[in-house]
Symmetry: C2
Subunit: 322 residues, 2 copies
DNA sequence: TTGTAGGCGTTATCAG
DNA sequence: CTGATAACGCCTACAA
């Protein structure tokens, strides 16, 4: 016999009343509440979440989908988990390693009611295919998706990129190289477009031949620096996909005895703690705020309560690499 | 009517047979299996996890408890999540920020059957109190716990520490400072003891006055370096709680124009990617392997199948800071 | 091989 | 304010 039944029996009240006490319903006499509460304590009772979920159809669990996780993604996840917890939700992590089938399992878990909603950090499946899952629960994305059906909390990175470009140009750097992340991502397209139009508008050279893609980690950054060093001419500055790439570039530049920022200026992106420690000029990216907004978007559906998002902005943080 | 019922109806078979097909039972005729499978596809059926969990008493979910999460912890989590997934388990993250009550919620979730087991990365509650939860499901810890009831997959860090000490001494560094993490943790005690006995055995100075505690992040490392620089005499080398502390120390040393390793040698711990990129000598810590073993320990109970753990060892990685 | 009946632990809808 | 009674969706003896 379950503890619930035991409480029923010992108190002499019905299931319904016991349930009401558990859920703090007002429609219970003080007497009943006291008696039942007392017995619950004696029995060290705690409700079974699976029974609750089956009955209510809600699990109070949110899935978060990411292909890999680095420190940048971690800061998003941490904030998301915190916010979710404040609203009474637990978070499950789906790391997909870029595998479509594994990723799909997260979406199937929305269907099978393991989670009430999904936050996507990065995904590899076709957005058109994924949007079919919207009928099973709310989905929000950090990465910008191709279609508009799945809402995104991402900011337009072009804004941040232009901040960096203006900074560099104002300091006299005009031959500016770019080191991008995913070649096909919307963010990369957005940054590249910003760069090209900005440079063109100033009558400055657009170094397309210096574009590098798939540079994410500090190792990637090292590699990128070596490539740059091999080119006939070194650019005066390099804009990086993120701070880790910048760290790698900075570190490798030192090894190659390229003086920063005299021979090469470096600008990172995101403003992680290490960028500060290592003195890297970067663009502050309000990641935590975006994570909070991501949960709020889900909550708008799950809790039927809209939370107005505050507008977020990028900020240039000048340090020693420019 | 649920899809399950719909399948029953359309196929003409009973609940039991439908259930058998879902669970790949052998005791089903090919005819029944085919017919039911066909209908399941038509209906795009997927089982409700809450119903399964309620019925079986298993959620196939594991909780992972950590106070904060940095890149080191992240690598443990990632590997744990991966391994769990290979065994059909999803992982939920409990970040406690060092709050006892929040941490306790994770353990209560074991009681309420939200999770089948728990992996602790770091916890703040009294181990004596926590071990009471062992009756509700398996628990394993990375951090070493005071009692032996909760098994730990941690290695004795003294071994790794001695590797570092031997290396430094062999290179001629004899005035060695230490920068520790949590002052009261078993790891710190273990490292400190290793240092003191090792130095004593070699007849070398034990720099107790140079001990620094609570140094975890690169910011902490910067601060630690500044303190060292203020002391009347600089040590010849410093052993760090982890690589991030080492990064901070290295970075700050450069700012203070202290030449590494000539004036100050630095040894990190863990061997994270950035230690390689930045050329920091360190002790390789098989973190991923420990994470795998952590899940295996839980699996021994949940799956009633023991997986023999392979013995793990530390390794010195010599780079440019020594 | 198949079916019946009961159980898993709650919530929810009605009456009273 | 309280209590039957029926969901919720699936699993599992035990029988047939």
């Amino acid at each position: 016999m379950s503890k619930f039944d035991e409480i029923m029996k010992r108190s002499g009240y019905s299931k319904a009343t016991v349930s009401r006490v558990i859920n703090n319903s007002r429609h219970v006499s003080d007497e009943a509440r006291q008696k039942i509460t007392e017995i619950m304590k004696q029995l060290n009772y705690i409700p079974n979440r699976n029974a609750i979920s089956l009955s209510t159809g809600q699990t109070k669990q949110i899935g978060i989908v990411t292909s890999t996780s680095n420190a940048i993604i971690l800061s998003f996840m941490n904030q998301f988990i915190d916010t979710a917890m404040d609203f009474g939700f637990q978070t499950l992590i789906y790391t997909t390693r870029g595998d479509k089938d594994i990723e799909l399992k997260a979406f199937e878990d929305l269907r099978s009611k393991r989670v009430d909603g999904l936050a996507i950090i990065a995904c590899v499946n076709d957005p058109e295919k994924l949007k079919a899952y919207l009928e099973y629960g709310p989905i929000v994305s950090w990465q910008r998706m191709g279609n508009n059906e799945i809402p995104s909390v991402a900011m337009d990175q072009a804004e941040g990129y232009i901040l960096a470009l203006e900074h560099l140009v104002s300091k006299g750097y005009t031959r500016i190289a770019n080191v991008f992340g995913r070649a096909d991502s919307i963010n990369t397209q957005s940054r590249r477009a910003a760069y090209e139009t900005f440079m063109a508008s100033k009558g400055l050279p657009v170094l397309k031949e210096a574009y590098q893609y798939w540079v994410f980690t500090s190792s990637d950054g090292e590699e990128a620096m070596r490539k740059m060093a091999k080119a006939p001419e070194l650019p005066q500055a390099v804009l990086c996909s993120n701070d880790y790439a910048a760290i790698g570039i900075l570190s490798e530049a030192r090894k190659l005895h390229i003086s920063v920022p005299d021979q090469l200026a470096i600008v990172g992106f995101d403003d992680v703690e290490l960028a500060r420690v290592l003195g890297i000029t970067t663009i502050h990216n309000p990641i935590a705020e975006q994570a909070t907004q991501a949960f709020h978007q889900l909550w708008a559906v799950l809790g039927r309560q809209k939370v107005e998002p505050e507008p977020l902005t990028y900020r240039l943080i000048e340090r020693e690499t420019t």
